[in-house]
């Protein structure tokens, strides 16, 4: 509907066959959708306690009334027969699927027993890893209270490259901490996005951009979804966006189409970098005695770079007062990227994009940025106290996601994209990319990650997932051995900010760096689609030691459905569905804030569970109390929190700061900071289950240097200080790691890793071919293989949904028609897809809109027979396939050490580096590998052959 028009509908004609005014239901409750992580507001209409209809909440800031294909199918998720119905205890061998139902009392006893023993001996032997949950502020806190450093959520295999690349560069990120200014952008450049976490906001945004006639360019090897509606599709070769971006940098510099003023004001382009090759300070910022970075002032020489009246030079090597030599960051940047190595002609071939196109795109974005600035009559005041009468924007907006981050060079590629944005001055201005509150935050936000010194019965203080500034902050022992089971924050992944869930089971299986006792997982289908190489995960989970005991002695898992991972756990704690529980989309985690202001949200139960299940958060809080974790008990040892809602309202991370930022204070009038409000949840419910703060107009732009904004954010407890967030072109933390690798400082990487750390911890963005491609015959494995998220399916968790599985019941391998025909293939032919480490069999579909050197498929449609409440003849298991079976979790062993198939800086799983070879397949028309059929859990409901869902009110 065009905004603001209500179509004139004539009076209803008399029609005896139609009841026009049947009430939708007898009750309607608002809550937050969780068919994916987009966190849209929904209104659930109920009739006699059954769901009649789920619609988007028109008042909700995330989705503004729209709802996606998954969200609209929530009824079938709620009533799916694959729902787990009672706690289960394994009675057969792992993987046999032999379980007995037990009571919750028993389940809690067992879990407490296992966990207590671990905590009393060596808490590190608990690995607590959670998947696509949105309660990390609770789960992470719980893990720290337990005393194990081994906690993470799915971020490490998801998009930590994007998060880290952004947070260490611009203090926000594409990912969930930023968004395009859909309302003003004149040019939107999107890299590697099929769906994203911001599903509905992006779709709403695209519709605005298109309605305005702004140009929308999609860089993506595949032309579907967003790329299909783009004004221009650039079918790049996977893994080469960094080159493409740096060629844009080259062009912008060559043609001098850069916003030097912006760079001088808002970035560290003017900061002086010590030039002392071989020295311990080489590449570090020249600082004054107070530690403040220095810039070279035209008149005064080396001065505090933050001075209001600085007149900086950006070119020229200078002598510092102490005699050392230093150059401005800008010069280092210009020298590097003006090199012919980055010229469009030099990169075109590798990117699969014509040099002329790269030049044109550079010229187009420069033209829009500099010749078509967006001027808002909105005064604002900067950190130097100067009021600007207008807000002037560079209306070029970038957005990027996993097409960038799921490569082993993704961290640097992401930084390269931010560099282009900075050169254009297109950061948090009208029409450009913008921070979502509570971002920007200081770069890096700090403090460093907790996890050193784990001791029995002792909490770890601080955040387990946080921000190293240099070698001293790494979680390694004196020999450089990782302290975490996943090796995040070690020399293998110094900025492993989100942990490395993809390595946990592999490392545990090799007792590397040490064995673990209990693997505790929540909402992660690790024995299937979230594993790189699921067969290996299954092998390890069922692996036994010489004495016949399982290699990983205890596996506890909480799922809501009968997923592929359930049979591999010893104890199943069945969760409720998203419509049956309280949840908190917290400012302490990844809230629903937008560029317009901070916000958060809750879920409230809209229907009562009809099974013996409990919300996992309640269970976790009870476990915390049973184990005596200090934050979960009162002085007398009794539970501190009754349940999760009690925790949401009354837990305080620091005085006045709790899970929810809205309606705080005794009377609910405080935001951000304030004492707990007993009526807080009620206030949220009355407000549609969300809270949102609207930034005043003068605070909405240039937030990194907007004094009023910074003051306000500090007052709300969102940032620790009101200093300007200076965007970091040159990243000093990276240089510190590199210096260590060059032999400086107390903490240095082990010999085997030195060259690697030195190479990849470059303080300026670099490009290198995906690591997986090294030591491989790329002529033999001649195709890149990637996946895309289908808009109507959320990873594995839609196959139990009777409606969604009709849309995506099986998947095929899409390949360029030219390539397919050269192999003599036509649609639906069976092929083998072979990689360095595995082989699978599936059907092909030929298409035009795909980079010719790329094949792709929809992610996670293939299912294991017997899972998800489906019969074994289901297409998901017979024709569907999972690309993961040919992805390796390790890189080819190099120099005697086994590296994760991941980004060497952040540990991000490199799903999309995969190379394969496709050949015609013979044999029966069944996809391979085809694992044995899983046995259903006890008391699974009888399978129906006809579903006639109907919940109808009377007229």
């Amino acid at each position: 509907m065009p905004e603001g028009t209500t179509p004139a509908v004539p009076r209803p004609p008399v029609d005896q066959h139609v009841d026009y005014s049947v009430p939708v239901g007898d009750d309607v409750k608002s809550t937050t959708c969780y068919m994916c992580a987009c966190r849209c507001g929904i209104r659930v209409h109920l009739k006699d306690g059954r769901i009649r209809y789920i619609e988007g909440n028109p008042d909700h800031p995330v989705n503004r009334g729209v709802i996606c294909g998954k969200g609209s199918a929530g009824i079938m998720t709620q009533y799916a027969p694959a729902k787990l119905s009672a706690p289960l205890l394994r009675v057969g061998e792992r993987g046999s699927g032999e379980f007995k139902e037990i009571s919750w009392a028993e389940a809690m006893e067992i879990a407490t027993g296992w966990l207590r023993q671990v905590r009393e001996t060596d808490p590190r032997r608990l690995a607590f890893f959670t998947g696509r949950d949105q309660s990390q502020s609770l789960t992470g806190f719980w893990a720290a209270q337990f005393g194990t450093p081994n906690f993470a959520a799915h971020g490490g295999f998801c998009s930590v490259n994007m998060a880290a690349g952004g947070l260490y560069t611009i203090g926000g990120s594409f990912w969930e901490f930023g968004e395009a200014d859909w309302d003003h952008a004149k040019y939107v450049l999107m890299f590697g996005v099929a769906e994203d976490h911001d599903s509905n906001p992006i779709k709403l945004g695209i519709s605005k951009v298109k309605a305005r006639g702004a140009k929308f360019v999609s860089v993506n090897p595949v032309r579907t979804g967003y790329s299909a509606v783009a004004d221009e599709w650039i079918g790049i070769r996977p893994g080469t966006d960094g080159l493409f971006a740096l060629a844009l940098v080259h062009e912008l510099l060559r043609t001098d189409q850069i916003d030097l003023e912006f760079l001088a004001r808002y970035t560290n382009a003017t900061w002086l970098v010590v030039r002392n090759p071989g020295g311990a300070d080489d590449g570090l910022f020249a600082r004054d005695p107070n530690g403040k970075p220095l810039a070279w002032d035209r008149a005064r020489g080396a001065v505090d770079a933050a001075l209001a009246d600085l007149s900086p030079v950006v070119i020229g090597e200078q002598s510092l007062p102490d005699g050392r030599r230093a150059v401005p960051v800008f010069q280092l940047l210009a020298e590097r990227y003006l090199d012919a190595e980055y010229a469009p002609d030099a990169v075109a071939e590798r990117c699969g994009v014509p040099a002329a196109t790269i030049r044109r795109i550079a010229a187009e974005i420069a033209d829009v940025a500099f010749n078509q600035p967006l001027v808002l009559d909105q005064p604002w005041t900067d950190v130097w106290g100067r009021t600007h009468s207008q807000t002037i924007g560079r209306p070029v907006a970038f957005h990027a996601m996993r097409g960038i981050s799921a490569h082993s060079n993704g961290f640097h590629t992401c930084r390269a994209l931010h560099l282009v944005q900075m050169l254009l001055g297109a950061i948090d201005t009208p029409g450009s990319w913008r921070y979502k509150s509570p971002f920007p935050r200081p770069i890096p936000p700090g403090p460093p990650p907790a996890g050193k010194g784990a001791k029995p019965n002792t909490p770890l203080t601080g955040n387990l997932l946080s921000f190293p500034q240099g070698p001293d902050d790494l979680l390694v022992d004196d020999a450089g051995t990782p302290l975490r089971i996943d090796k995040a924050f070690s020399w293998e992944a110094p900025l492993g900010l989100h942990g490395m869930m993809h390595t946990v089971i592999g490392n545990a299986g090799a007792d590397d760096p040490y064995p673990i006792d209990t693997l505790f997982m929540f909402m992660a289908n690790m024995a299937w689609n979230s594993a790189m190489n699921p067969a290996e995960v299954i092998r390890i989970l069922t692996d036994k030691r010489a004495d016949g005991s399982y290699h990983i002695p205890h596996v506890i898992y909480s799922d809501a459905y009968f997923s592929e991972t359930v049979p591999y756990a010893d104890l199943i704690l069945p969760d409720t569905t998203y419509l049956e529980r309280w949840d908190c989309i917290s400012v302490l985690d990844r809230p629903i804030g937008s560029a317009h202001g901070v916000g958060d949200a809750i879920r409230q139960p809209v229907i009562a569970p009809d099974r013996d299940v409990r919300p996992f958060q309640d269970v976790l809080i009870e476990l915390g109390a049973r184990l005596g974790l200090p934050a979960f008990i009162k002085e007398d040892g009794s539970p501190r929190f009754k349940d999760y809602p009690d925790y949401i309202v009354n837990h305080q991370r620091s005085p006045g700061v709790g899970p929810l930022a809205g309606f705080r204070g005794a009377d609910g009038n405080k935001k951000g900071l304030g004492e707990p409000n007993p009526d807080q949840l009620q206030r949220y419910i009355e407000n549609g289950c969300f809270w949102r703060d609207q930034l005043p107009p003068e605070q909405q732009w240039f937030k990194h240097a907007n004094q009023a904004y910074l003051d306000g954010a500090k007052a709300m407890g969102l940032i620790p200080n009101t200093n300007q967030v200076v965007l970091q072109i040159w990243s000093e933390p990276l240089q510190k790691f590199r210096l260590a690798a060059e032999g400086h400082g107390e903490r240095q990487p082990p010999a085997a890793l030195r060259a690697r750390v030195a190479r990849y911890c470059d303080p300026l963005p670099i490009w290198y071919p995906p690591l997986e491609h090294e030591a491989q015959d790329l002529g033999h494995f001649d195709l890149s293989a990637i996946t895309q998220r289908p808009m109507a399916m959320y990873h594995s968790w839609g196959s139990m949904n009777a409606w969604l599985r009709q849309i995506h019941g099986a998947n095929r391998l899409y390949m360029a028609r030219t390539k397919g025909e050269a192999l003599g293939l036509s649609d639906d032919d069976w092929v083998f897809v072979e990689s360095r480490t595995g082989k699978l069999k599936c059907q092909v579909k030929l298409m035009e809109g795909v980079n010719p050197d790329t094949v792709w498929t929809w992610n996670a449609i293939g299912k294991r027979a017997g899972a998800w409440g489906l019969t074994e003849d289901s297409p998901e298991a017979v024709r569907g396939f999972l690309l993961n079976h040919v992805i390796s979790e390790w890189l080819p062993a190099q120099e005697g050490f086994r590296a994760a198939n991941a980004d060497p800086v952040t540990g991000q799983a490199a799903w999309y580096d995969l190379r394969v070879r496709v050949t015609r397949a013979d044999g029966p028309p069944v996809s391979e590998p085809h694992f044995s059929t899983l046995r259903e859990p006890p008391n699974a409901p009888r399978r129906i052959e006809i579903l006639q869902y109907l919940v109808k009110a009377k007229a």
């Binding site: 579907t224 009709q806 849309i807 995506h808 019941g809 099986a810 998947n811 579909k845 298409m847 297409p875």
Partner: protein, 309 residues
């Protein structure tokens, strides 16, 4: 289009039944047929049996056969409704005809027979028009389709008539009619196939999507990965190879063989003729079953464009 067995059977059986009724009503007064009431009664019985069986079969594919009576209401616009009405109305003169035969009212028999013949022709025409009026199906929406139904009905009816009249001792006339009608049917069928082979579908995927300006349009992903009622109904496709074989079978069984058998019967008469004409009737019916199956199987619906392009 899916060749639903009930519909294929219905059009073949009722086509032959009406054909038989038509010829019986039309030719009996001319004296070309055996005049014994037993002969006419046998033919009438056979035709009503086929007609009734066909009509009953046609209700099998209805979702709600108990409401079938409602189908008589829309004769002003719907050929299906008209067919129903005509079919039911035809029972009146046909039953009258039978009554007259039994009671020996010869004047009434002639009049009722002629009326029944008219009813039979009208009904089969309506059947043909049901299909011929469907614009989305190019292979049906053609002026040759309804006459084809009429002709093949008449042909198969004649084959039945000839067989029965041979039993009644009359061979020559009906047998030569078979040859004539068979020849006409053959020509018509060949012409039809020539037409449909040259005919594209009623539209293209480009015009079905309004995307002509972009050029050729090809399906990438269907809306659902499994099938649907629509696709089972309209997505049915027969391989060209199979169709060619079936066409030959149809020609051989439905036309060439029965014509040869009829010639043979006309030549030799007697007991062998009876056998030959019985065989001819059976091959005609078999051939037309194949013809009818192909008529569906080779028909394409524009809705399938969205899936198959």
């Amino acid at each position: 289009m899916k060749p639903a067995p009930s519909i294929v059977f219905f059009t073949v059986a009722s086509g032959a039944g009406y054909g038989l009724l038509f010829w019986l009503g039309l030719l009996r007064p001319t004296g070309l047929l055996p005049q014994a009431p037993a002969f006419a009664l046998t033919c009438l019985g056979l035709s009503l049996l086929l007609i009734t069986a066909g009509l009953l079969a046609s209700t099998f594919h209805l979702g709600n056969p108990q409401r079938a009576w409602r189908a008589l209401s829309q004769w002003r616009s719907s050929w299906l409704s008209r067919e129903g009405v005509a079919a039911l109305l035809t029972y009146l003169p046909a039953l009258c005809f039978g009554f007259a035969l039994v009671s020996g009212a010869s004047g009434l028999a002639v009049a009722a027979g002629l009326l029944a013949a008219l009813g039979a022709a009208v009904t089969v025409w309506c059947t043909g028009m049901i299909y011929a009026s469907l614009k989305p199906i190019a292979q049906w929406h053609h002026p040759i389709l309804a006459p084809g139904y009429l002709l093949l009905g008449a042909y198969s009816g004649m084959a039945l008539l000839a067989a029965v009249s041979a039993i009644g001792g009359v061979v020559g006339g009906p047998a030569s009619f078979i040859v004539t009608l068979g020849l006409a049917g053959l020509v018509l069928k060949l012409a039809y196939w020539q037409i449909v082979d040259r005919l594209g579908p009623a539209a293209s995927l480009a015009s079905a999507t309004g995307l002509e300006a972009l050029g050729r349009v090809r399906p990438l992903d269907p809306p659902a990965t499994e099938t649907s009622w629509l696709m089972r109904e309209m997505g049915f496709r027969v391989a060209r190879k199979h169709a060619a074989v079936l066409r030959r079978i149809c020609l051989l069984l439905g036309f060439v063989l029965p014509m040869l058998l009829s010639l043979f019967a006309g030549q030799f008469g007697g007991g062998l003729a009876v056998l030959a004409l019985l065989l001819a009737a059976l091959t005609v019916l078999a051939g037309i079953l194949v013809e009818r199956w192909l008529l569906f199987a080779e028909a394409t619906h524009t809705a399938a464009l969205y899936y198959h392009g």
